[in-house]
Each structure stands twice: as structure tokens, then as C-alpha cells.
Subunit: 487 residues, 4 copies
Amino acid sequence: MDLPHPFESDGDTLHEECGVFGAIALDDAAATTALGLHALQHRGQEAAGLVSFDGQEFYARRGLGHVVENFSAAEDIAQLPGSMAAGHVRYSTTGGSGLRNVQPLYAELAAGGFAVAHNGNISNSLHLRRDLVKNGAIFQSTSDTEVIIHLVATSRYPSTLERLVDALRLVEGAYALIVMTPNGMIACRDPLGVRPLVMGRMGDGYVFASESVALDVIGAEFEREVDPGEMIEITLDGKMKSHRPFIAQNPRPCIFEHVYFSRPDSVFAGRSVYEARKEIGVELAREKPVEADLVIPVPDSGVPAAIGYAQESGIPFELGIIRSHYVGRTFIQPGDANRHSSVKRKHNANRRLVEGKRIVLIDDSIVRGTTSLKIVQMMRDAGAKEVHFRVASPPTAHSCYYGVDTPERSKLLAAQMEVEPMREFIHADSLAFISIDGLYRAVGAEKRNNACPQFCDACFSGDYPTTLTDATDREDPQLSLPVGKVA
Amino acid sequence: MDLPHPFESDGDTLHEECGVFGAIALDDAAATTALGLHALQHRGQEAAGLVSFDGQEFYARRGLGHVVENFSAAEDIAQLPGSMAAGHVRYSTTGGSGLRNVQPLYAELAAGGFAVAHNGNISNSLHLRRDLVKNGAIFQSTSDTEVIIHLVATSRYPSTLERLVDALRLVEGAYALIVMTPNGMIACRDPLGVRPLVMGRMGDGYVFASESVALDVIGAEFEREVDPGEMIEITLDGKMKSHRPFIAQNPRPCIFEHVYFSRPDSVFAGRSVYEARKEIGVELAREKPVEADLVIPVPDSGVPAAIGYAQESGIPFELGIIRSHYVGRTFIQPGDANRHSSVKRKHNANRRLVEGKRIVLIDDSIVRGTTSLKIVQMMRDAGAKEVHFRVASPPTAHSCYYGVDTPERSKLLAAQMEVEPMREFIHADSLAFISIDGLYRAVGAEKRNNACPQFCDACFSGDYPTTLTDATDREDPQLSLPVGKVA
Amino acid sequence: MDLPHPFESDGDTLHEECGVFGAIALDDAAATTALGLHALQHRGQEAAGLVSFDGQEFYARRGLGHVVENFSAAEDIAQLPGSMAAGHVRYSTTGGSGLRNVQPLYAELAAGGFAVAHNGNISNSLHLRRDLVKNGAIFQSTSDTEVIIHLVATSRYPSTLERLVDALRLVEGAYALIVMTPNGMIACRDPLGVRPLVMGRMGDGYVFASESVALDVIGAEFEREVDPGEMIEITLDGKMKSHRPFIAQNPRPCIFEHVYFSRPDSVFAGRSVYEARKEIGVELAREKPVEADLVIPVPDSGVPAAIGYAQESGIPFELGIIRSHYVGRTFIQPGDANRHSSVKRKHNANRRLVEGKRIVLIDDSIVRGTTSLKIVQMMRDAGAKEVHFRVASPPTAHSCYYGVDTPERSKLLAAQMEVEPMREFIHADSLAFISIDGLYRAVGAEKRNNACPQFCDACFSGDYPTTLTDATDREDPQLSLPVGKVA
Amino acid sequence: MDLPHPFESDGDTLHEECGVFGAIALDDAAATTALGLHALQHRGQEAAGLVSFDGQEFYARRGLGHVVENFSAAEDIAQLPGSMAAGHVRYSTTGGSGLRNVQPLYAELAAGGFAVAHNGNISNSLHLRRDLVKNGAIFQSTSDTEVIIHLVATSRYPSTLERLVDALRLVEGAYALIVMTPNGMIACRDPLGVRPLVMGRMGDGYVFASESVALDVIGAEFEREVDPGEMIEITLDGKMKSHRPFIAQNPRPCIFEHVYFSRPDSVFAGRSVYEARKEIGVELAREKPVEADLVIPVPDSGVPAAIGYAQESGIPFELGIIRSHYVGRTFIQPGDANRHSSVKRKHNANRRLVEGKRIVLIDDSIVRGTTSLKIVQMMRDAGAKEVHFRVASPPTAHSCYYGVDTPERSKLLAAQMEVEPMREFIHADSLAFISIDGLYRAVGAEKRNNACPQFCDACFSGDYPTTLTDATDREDPQLSLPVGKVA
């Protein structure tokens, strides 16, 4: 099976916004980081950056496009010397002006160089930015991450570590950070642990990554997850120290990492993602059974749940939709091409298989619903007799403010209507979602603890685990970012 | 499921060398052709070309890389006006010098422009070339296809159609051709029908494509296959005429199109490719059963056979290997990375699933065996207790001379050893291939008719359906192509 | 002083179409050729090509733009190994399709590789091309030079040298050629010697170049001009043989090489170009004196004649027009910019010098007259009291068919009107041209021998030294070249 | 004549570091600025930038290379809307990391956008930077100009104008600045007026430029120089106000603008640059006469002085050295090329003219002396009997700290030896420089007023008009700039 979502340019999917990777006390820190980032490519395909430190100087390179386009050549890596490196992959809007937002961000502070790679979202960054600018700070980017650097630069604490703690205490939202200073690397995760971050060992050195699969690919040993609220410091010569400078809270890791974001060969919150997804399929088959001839995944992300559904229901699993690797930009449409060809470039019905059959389609989620509609229609055009749609997550009815690119709430199909109108909208014979408790069971909990939920499931429940300062105070004109074309 | 083989840069797979597409009597001929070529991208990823004709002039564009990189933008298509167009995707060696070999080839003949796109291989092209050059012909490329043009240019027959017949009678080997002249399009297939070619209708116009999936994607109706030895002529205003100018022979379509080359959602030689592949898995489970816990495909091409194997054997189908979309060029290897990381960039073991299990791996073929070895080792490293390898084709022991890029015979593992030493070589607990009769059964025959085989299976059997003039006469120094760097 | 005309994109100048260079029996043939071509850059700025031969294979590289952009880097030159090389700079229309016309042209003939670089123009090439195509020849380019290759390829003579003679006997027009075969280099000049070609020695090797300055720049010794109608053959190991296979004619070297094309530090037809130009100024001062305060050259090509005019007349030479190096593509014009800013980007009046003065402007020629008009106006705007225009060549009233890019005759100002209306057109107080006999005196003859002119001066006299087959037979539709966009 | 120094890549010339241009209250502000910058291209060829403001937003584009490569196309200009724009051309070290130093620099301050283009050098920028960083400022570039922005951002004054005055009072050195804020444009010049800045009118709008020639080229009227210490404010609707916020000082404009930097068609400090240079030649002929046959300029910058020398001495002015336009990167040198070919690519002897003659070479200055040596040798190789070298400036014995890129003092030939050893070093028959009083006379003064010099002539005299804080305090390690490769 393939990894999820290489390019989904039609705005009808959720996008993880970032992946981070760091390596320290390793001879080939930059090459290791490049390979690790490559394994995290599915978390951000628009740009990649890498910063290294050789004991004297910092070196940085960034580029639009994939890791392989920017960091696979020996000459690229040769320009990133040293035994410490960190990198970042990013999903972002395209365009030349994007380059200044490509992370790791870097600044020369009074105490020396400071680089930071961030996965997550700071939900009060506009407020912090406004106050910093009033005091003379000059921002280089429109990235929320940059407020962390300015907060560190202007903190009154003596050491960089204390300044970073000072900065993060002012910050609200979700973050998994990898920071580099001339003394070493600091990896930390917000007190709720919304976004993932794992630690591995490689010889005498350490590596950090957004997902465990990156450790597999580079050949490192998985050590453990960085704990929510933990700040791990590694010196240049490989000494490790763990700090817990924040007030302890109940963790709320993002449940959608299991549903969609993480690679199926990653382990998240102690559980195999593949297993969780297959189990979601099993739960779904129990909760929402249907009589049919074939179980068909919407490739690729629907595959594990479809296997689970098929195994539990006894209906055969078949590839009724074939997906092309060679997607990317939109083609100019010939006038005679039929209405669904943009979907067909990616997904094509396996007509001979589907003809005359009752099918169960399994997809990971419904966002706007436009793709689901096209896929149902494609199956009917191919001769399917009945099309039953089963979704491996509860209805997505709320926006994410913690680092996932969701459409505005008003564009989410589930924010506008109940399940039955949704079924009508996508023209399915039946439509059903896994229940929220079913989802919790599939990922290993008994059920959702509503008093103190075990995960962040705000996109389904609307139950946001932090305040959302910027979002609730959007009217202040001073909070708007410059929208000019200054690169 | 995804399509087979986006990039396999390690030389351990077989490569289809080309795909062709043509459109005539269509308002958006070039846009339609671009989209059709895109659906054939898996047949050739190194270069793409497109030629159009607007009733007055021919227009051509070619580029290295994918169709989407060269022909998706409106401004690219705007430079290819007219209601007739043909295109080609090519697998070839990289490098700047390649551009002159990118098809469709085009020449100004005395009767006007002449463009040709070719899938296949002319097995006496070096002999023909030598004779043409002796008579003053000047070749632009090192492509075998160019001999067809020179044979047409120097033929003594009056009309272009007759000149083309004259030329093809001198040609030995396999070809599916799309030709454009100022009068219209000619599509034809060699008398054995080794390489595929289908015809479709779109409004009042016609389209031709290497595989039926291209018709689905552009929204055309499948009409029928072009018959072996048939030459179909379509005038600019859409009149169709069929010619059969060659001596009739028993068809021998390439059986490997079923095993590997064609997209699973194509229909080839009257049979769904997906169905054929699944049936191969079923046959394999009957012929070569084994006790195990999981059936695991080597993604992506092994998936349908694995589904068939699982259904027949009752052993659960599971994704034990996760494949990354984001492959491409080789990364510089960090010194500490373990020995299998180059495979791991593409394929990663789903460790939690595999640990402690007896697994059956299903792959489409074994070429050199090096990838198979790495994958078996990867599964063992991930904790698999037993690794049984099942191959969805008979041993590949002979080179192809009909348009598939195979290693020299001496590099084919099955040309060097029997099955048991192969098993040792790849370190599997057991190894088995489908039988040649099993394969024939799976694709719809009762068994192989050895007196008059229904398919070309020379890569398995060594039974080549044509003479191989160049290959048997390699010593003639005048037959060698120039190897300089003249672009 | 600077060299003439780096970019004159407004069509109001004459353009040399090519420069050629060859080196044989030299260790660094390609590097020497690149440097030699660079010294000939003023003869063609649009594209450059280089072919080398290492005793086994030919290697070729071509590119749009200047020599320095394509052939200055060590890695470019490393791809052109061997002790024989030839190169070409070309003035041509821009655009991607141009690349196939970039010389040296190369073909694989039955006797081996054949490369040719050509300066000049074949005035019956369309007729020859039509006949070759009728016999099955396939042309790669729209270059007139390619007919030479096809004539060689289809000649019935046994040796390549004899085939080349056979081909050139069929050719009408002007050519200075450098040919490479696996046996060595052949340099030759048409029987009239219209276009220049010189030979130099460098160690044990030989070099050929369009102008002697290329020999100075690479550090070679000037040996002699290649004679009109001479064909010089040099073997790979440096043996030289001279052939004179054509019927002897009185030479007619292009007199415009003295007026404008050649670099002033070149020696052409036995005379220093700088000296000739200065002498033209002296003659002009004698023939067409005027009372004035300053002699001002139109830079850069008018400078030597202006020095001569000033020395002869006693009027001081001054830089009243300053020229910018940084020209090139046209800028978008701000609406408020005054009407002459496109000229001003190149030429700006030295206002403080010119104000209130009577000036004599010296330019090399008047083509369409539009630039002359703008320059006269610019001097008036800067305050000049009187503007007298003196031209260092006779009126240009006829097109060139021998390798110089002239506008159609109807666009030549001197083809439309006498001198007095031309004066009115450019708004000068007086206008005068050197006489044709004055020009002949300046370049070293006593006067023009009208019975048997010593130079080709057809652009002034209309006296063409060859027949002009294509030009007199333009109506034949079969003579037109394809104008599509086939690259 | 051509403009000075398009590319002098051998480090043996002085380089102006920048040119600035601004336009306000003009419909086509960006197009006008692009054309104006193009006229200033000789002041900086490595990079160019342009910022515009449309009343709402700022827009910026920057690029390595020439103005024409980045700002000539309609689509480039279309991205820079608005009626106010400023631009900058820069001489700098090459490389990707350079882009962040390309001006105008831009920042979002609390009061809105702030852009600045600077010609000059701040001689205490490292001290200022250190203090700003200590207080939490984060620098984006290594440009000295950025300290101005941070000083403005952190100033305690209320208005941007006052903040800018506050900032510039802390700054030491030379500057001609163009600043843009949402309210309009501010142009100002340091109290000594070291670097030039002129003001022009164009319809109802204003333009500012480093040199008057830019006004000629865009078709604006020259209004006056911006006075030393003057700050001119223009509102968006074209209202002008002049401020003089600094303590008055005696002006010290850079005398080298007359000798070399400015275009000869510019007017600087009230005097035509061409006239000044010719007058230098006249003075030089009087002070340092010699018996000779020809006066030969080292092109192009030596031409006006050579004309003056020739007119005063009566010795004929001749082009004994021909310069190629087509320079640029270094070519790989063929082994057989003689030792001076790198000079020969740029300068070639006009051998026929020079042979057997006694010549006077006129050059603008001697920096390291290596080029002078090669040129003298080239003239001897061409057969010159005697070579007399005359220099149009006094010996350059001191580095510049005000915006000109000079080699370290130890590399300046005149810092190491007297005139007679210099003559020996360059192998001339005689060598003489203009005296400092001669130079002052030529530019219009009676003589140098040693108590209060009329110009900055520190490169000749070592008499620096400001303190040089950074240069005298280099040891402080905190003053060093980061030298890593952080782009």
C-alpha cells in the first residue's frame, strides 16, 4: 500500500502543516536529517528547509518543493556541515514569497545563533506579534513561529533555555519544537502533547522526529515519545537532560493523527497507526453493517480501514478504484472531456470489477464532500448497483487551530447538515460514520472520557483544549498580517 | 490501490518502453492527447512529446520528465493547435542528448509533414539503418523508429499510405504505431499484435491509445482493439477505413502486459488486467500453497495477486509493507544508516504487524533478485518468523526484443540458476513461481498451446515469435550506433 | 574604444550572420575554439555551437546566447574532448526552435561523422533542398547549410573530400566553411572570397577563423588568408595540403567588412580595419567638408572614421554621445518618458559639451534611417546649434544575399529616396555620404574598377557577383520552408 | 564612447557599491524606477531591487544580476503597482546568500511599512548592530543599512520622520538614502555629502537618483542636487518639504566620482564629469609632458583624459587598444594560450597602429598594478618602441570607508612604493600621476584647501573626514558579523 495523499490540490482534504526532524552528536547530521525529513514528506510537500551547526557557524538551505529536490545531492549536503542539524517540511501556499516562511527559522541573537523548527500552531500569535512590533521588533516572516524567536530575543532571563521557557509560557496552542543553539538541541512538546514528537538513538547520538517511521527509515532505534510538556536538552557531545517546566495537564494528543495524518507504519501514542485504522474498519463494520458484494477503499488512506471492514464483515476486499501516481498540477481540460475527469486523473473506476455489484466504499473522512460526490458518481457510471459510503471518522464539523489546514467551518459539509442530507448530497445509497466512542475504542481507549477526554478531537466535538485568543478577537485591525507581496 | 512503478531507478525491474496516444477530428486534440498520455505515464516516465496539425502546419513540443511537467499548462497546449494530435511517453536513458530521441519523430517529406509515435522495437533496425545511410540518408536520432521514416521517404510507391505499408513490410519486430500526415492519422499494429493498441470514439472524432484506461480518463468510449496486422486510417474530417495489408499470422500479444505493464484498470486482449492478476494469485495459491499467518503484497504491483492468493488460501491479506510516494533520485547515504535504507526509502516494514508472524510475500516477478533479497531481509529484521516468497509470473530467463527494457540475459537471476538456488540467494524460507500453464489459465486460456502459443511469452520461454536479425548479427562493426555525445 | 554593436535590437543596423573558428592538432582544441569564438562574438550573438573529435567519436554542444554563457566553464569544455574542434557563432531569430539551426551542423554519414560550420549564404539553397527532398532526403533544420551535408551524403564520388567539392560546385553564393571528418579538418572559401577566413599556426597545430583578431586573442600566429576558391585540408596529425578545385575567378571580398562588420583590430584583405575606417574619415573630410565646432562619433562604430575626419579637418574630436553597455531587451516604457528614451537607454547626449555648438556627427551607415533621426533629434534637444551628418559608407540601397541580415529593399531609406530627402527625413542641417571611389581609395585601391570590381559592394551598387536563383524564383510554392513550430 | 567598467572581475579596479533611484507621485513609478536604475547600472551590477507602494500595500522584488534581467518585462513591473517606488543596484559578492542583502531593505514597523535604499557606508555599523542585538533586535541581513531600520524601529520619537533623524544622528559615515513610508518618500544625504544624490521633476511628480544621467534617460528635468545634510520629504500627492536636521559642516563630496565612478554624461558637484576628466588630461599634459607619436587611452574610462592630453600636447589621439564588449566570467585557458590572454579577452592591441611607435597610455588610476603591467606588456608585444604611462588621478594609497570597494591597503601598489619603483613594476618607460592640486584645478577649484578640503580625497590623501569607529576597533570579537551560510 502507498502512503496517504501525495498531492491533494482541490482543497477537499485536511492537510498536516508540518513535520520536524533533528539530529545531534552524529557525524552525518545533515544527511541523516534529509533522509528523516524525506520519510516525513507526507506531512508537508510544499517546502523544505535544513539548518546545521558545525561548532562554529550555522548553515541553512531552504527550497520550495520536496526534500528530494532540495536535499538529496551530495553537493547540497556538503554545504550543511557539522554534527547537529534540524529540518522541516511544510505544507503552505505556493509562490515565491513563501520562501521566507520556510523553516527552520534562524536568527542571530546576542547569545549566538538560534534556529527553530515547529509543527503546530500558536493560537495567540497575532496578539504576541502586535505587542512585539510595538516595542520595535522587526519580523522577517508571516509565520507564527517567529514570535517564539522574538520572545526569546527580548526575554530578560539569562540563559537561552530559560528564555525559551519564558517564551513558551506566553504562547498558547500546539507545538512540537526542535531548537538549535550553539550549545546543542532542545526538543519540546506543548503541555497537552497535541502534535507528536518521538526520540530515537543512533550510535552515540540522538534524533527527534514527528513520527516513528522516520527512525525506521534512517535505521535509528525508537527510544520513546517526548512527553507532553517535556523539554529535552542534548548537548553537542550527546549529553541528555529532561526538563518539565510547565504546569502539568492531562495530555490531549490529536486523534486525527491516527485517522489520517501519520503514516500507517508509524506508532503514535503507543499504538500502531495501521492497527488503529484497521480496527476503525472493524468497529465500523460492527456499528454500521450493510449487505454488499465488495468492500472498496478510496485509495490510499481508506485501505487499512477497508481491510478491517472486510475482515469483520466477511465481504471481499477488492481494488475497485485505481489511483494514479502521476498527479500534480491541473491539466487544461479538453472541452469534450466528461465532467469528472479531474477526479479521474487521480482515481479511475475498475469498471469490470464493479459492474452490477453492490459496493461499500470506505474513506477516511468527509471534508467538503465534493470529492465524495465525484467518487460515488464514478462508481455508478462504472455500473455499481448500490453504493454504500462508510467513513472512518466521525463527522468533521469544526476547524482545527492546532496546525492542521482545515477549510473555514462554513465550508465543512458536516457543519452544515446532518447525516441524511449529507447522504443525499453525495448521492450514496447509504452513508454512515464511525461513532466517537467507536473511534476511541479503535485507538485503544474504552470510550471517550467526556470529563477529561484522552485525545484532542476538537474537529469532531468542537471541544478545544485551549483558549483561542486570536480567533475570538479577529476584529482588531492591528492583528492583521501584511498581505503585500514583499518577499 | 496505486499504479505500478512510478520510479524504479535501481535496474531491478522491467520497464515498458513507451505509450502512444492519438486524437483526430476533435476540437481539443492536443489537450485530449495530453490527458490521455498522462493516463499512460506508467509506460514511460523519462520524456514526453506531442505533435499537432492544424490543417496547414505541424507543431511539436517535447520535454524530459513527466507529461504534467510539459503539457499541463494552457500555454503549452496553446502552442499545439489543430484537430489532430499524437503523443508519446518514453522510458529511456536520461541526459540532454535524449531529447532528439523523444517521439513523435517528425520529418518534412516531399509529400509534406510526417510524424510517428511508436511503441515496440524493430529488431532489424540496425541493418535497415546501415543500408539507408549507405544510400545517403542522414539520421537525426539513434531511435529505431527513425528507420520507418527513411523507408517511407525513399519508397518508390506514390501515396504515403502505400509507402508506409512498403516500409513496414521491411521491418521486423513489434510495433504499435500512430502516424500523422497532412491527410489524417494512421494507427497500426504489427501482424503478431505484440504491443497493445485500442481505438475509442469521442463525439465525432477518434482516439487511439496503448491502453484502454486512457479512454476512461478522457471520457471516450472504448470501441475495440486495433487488430494485429490492421492499419486504420482516419481522415481529418473523421472518416474511417481499415486496411489489412500484411500476411495474416496467429496473434501473439505480450503476456507480460497482464503480469505487470498495463494498469490494472485496463482491459487487454479482452480481459480485465486486474482480474487476470487476481486470478494469477488464485492459481498460485492452488499450485504453491503454504501455511502462514499473513499474505503481504510487495506494493504496488503485487497487490491484486496477493488479494487473489488470500481469497483462495483463506490467509488474511495485510499491508505488511508500506510504500512511500516520494521516491526519486538517490539520497546521499549517512554513514550510520543501516544497509537497507535505499530500499527503506521506498518500502518500510509494518513492524508491529509482522512481528512473530509467518508471512507469504507476493511479488510480480524476479529480475535480478537484488530487491527481493532486500525485502526478505527487511521482513526478517522486522521480526517475521517465516518468509515465503510467491511470484506471480514464471521465472524470467530471457531478454525481450520487443520494446521492454530487460537487463542482459546474464544479469537475469533465473537465467543463471534453478529455483532452489534462487531461494537461497534471496534468503527466503520457500520460493515458488506460478507455472506457465497456470499463467495461461489465469489470463483466460485453457493452457499454453505449445504448437502455436496464444501469447508472446519469450521472456519466460525463450520462444521468440520473429527472427532477431540484429541480435544474431551483432559482430558487424557497421551495425553499431554512434555513441558520441552529439545532441 | 569598444567593439561594434553588442545588441542592436531595433532592426536599424546590418547584422553579420556568423563567425567560424576551427582548431586542429592542438591539445586544447575545444578550449582554444571557445576563446576564439569569443573573439568573434560580434559576428553573431544569438547562439553558439562547438563540435570536437577525439579520434573516435564526435562531441557536440550548442546553446542560445553568448559563447561565455555556454562554453566558458571547465565542465562544458570537458565534454568536448579531442585535438580537433570547430565552432560557430550565429545571429538568428530567437526562440526555442532556433536550437536545431545552431551550427556546426553534424551528421553521421556512411563514411563517418561530418560536421560543418558556415559563414555566408547559399543563394540557391531552396532549389537544392526541394530536389533533395524529392529524392527522400530528410532535413533536420531550416538552415541553408544543411543542403551541403545532403549533397555530400548523396554524392557518387568515393572520398569525402571529392564529395565536398562535388557538393560545393552545385552551390551558389558565399561561404567560408570549416568542415570536420574523422580524417581531419577542411577549411574553404567560395571562389569569390566574399566572406573572410584566415589561417594561423599555434605550436604544431593549425587554427582557422573568420577574423585575424581571434588569432591575436588565443595567441596564435597569423599565417595568411585562406584564398578565394582554396580548400585547405589538415590531417589529424597536422599535415597540411592546399587544393584549388574551382574555376578561378576575380576575388570580390565584402567591402562592408571594412566599413562595419570586422573588429577594428582585425586585418582584412591585407589592410588594417582600423586604418581603413580612419582613412574613410579622412576621405570624407576631404570630399564633404563642413564648418563646425566639434566632430562627434555615433558610438562605437563611428569612432575611427570620426578620428580620421577630425584629424583631416582640424575640428576637435569629442565624445558628444555616451553609450551604455547595459542594453539588451526592451524595457517597458513608462507613459511619461519622452519619445526618445529607447534610444537614450543606449545613447545619451553629453549635454554640457554639445550645448550651443555646431557639430559633425559621423556614423558608419544609414539603414532605415530611424536611428539617425533619433540621434539628430537628441543632439538638438541637448542644444546643438547645427547638426551635420556624415556617413562612412555610400548609400545602402540594396539587400545582401551573401550572409548579411539586411531589411527588405523597400525598407532601406536609400532605396526610396535621394540624399536631399534623406537629409530632410533625419532633420539634419546637412547630410553627405562618402563616394564609392572614396571608399575604394580608403581601403587601398586607386578607385573602383567598374569592369571588374575589386570588392563585393552590391549593397551600394546593386552589382551582385553571382546569380541569385532563389531570389529570382520566389513564386514556386515548393520552395517555401516549413514555418510550423517543430523544434 | 562607452560607459566605464561593465565587469572588472579581476579585483584590479575600484567599485562603486551602489546606485539609488526613487520616484513619487508618478503613474508609472515602478517602470520609471526600473529605467532610472538601468541608467545607474554601472554603479552596481551584481543585484537589483525595487519596492513600490500603492497606497495600501508595499510590493517588493529583488534579483541577482542586471536590472534588465529582473525588471524589464511587463509582468515584472505589473507586480509593482502604485505611484511611489524606489530601487537600488548593488555591487556585492555573488552567491545565493546575497539575496537577503539586496536593497531596498523592507520592514513592517508598528507605524507601517518602511523601505530604505542606501548608497554609502556606515562606518560604525558594527558597533550599532552589537548594541541593538543586545537589546533583542533580530537582523535579517549582514548589510550595514539594516541598522538604520532597527534604530528607527526602536526610537522613542513619535513620527517616522523624527525617528529617522534620531537614527541618522547615531550613524557615522556616508549615505545617500531613499526611504519610503506609507506617507511618502524621504531622500537625504549625509552632512558631508560624500555620495551624490540629485532631484528631478517629471510632470507633477518627483524623482531622485544617484546621478543626473538617470534623469536624462527617463526624460525628467534636473532640479538640483540634494544638499549635504538635507532631508527632502515628498508626500504621496507630491507635496515637497525640505529639512536640515543635522549640524552644518563643510561639504566633502567624493572626488573619485569625477575621476572614475560617475558616467561622463553626468553632472556632479556642479560640473560636467566629461569636462572634468578631459581637463584632468589637459592638466596632466602640462604637468607631465613627454615626447611621443600617439596618445592611447586604456578604454573606456581613460578616453576623456586621453582626448584632453592629446589636445593639449598636440600628439594625435588614436585607438591603440580595442576593447571587447563580451567579457564576463573567466574562460578556461587553453594550455597553449600565451600568458596575457585573460587581459586580451577584454583588451587587444591594435598592432598595425602601434608598431614602431612611441606611445602615451592614459589610464584613470592604478590600484594593484597588475592590469597596468599586462597592458604595458601587451603594447610592447605589439611592437611599441616606447611606452609612457600617465595616470588621471594621484596615487591611490588608502582604502575607502565610504561605500567604495577598495582592496585592503596592503594590496594597493601606491601604499607600498614610490612612483619610480611603480614604474619599474609595470615596466613602463616613464610613469607619472596628476598632482593633487592639478586634480583639484581640473574639477574647478583653484587648489586643494588643506585646512578645509573641498572634497573627500581620502583615497589619495588619507585624510578621512569622519571618525572610523569600526575600523579602529576591529579587535572586539562581538563586532564580527556571522560568516555562516545562512541565506
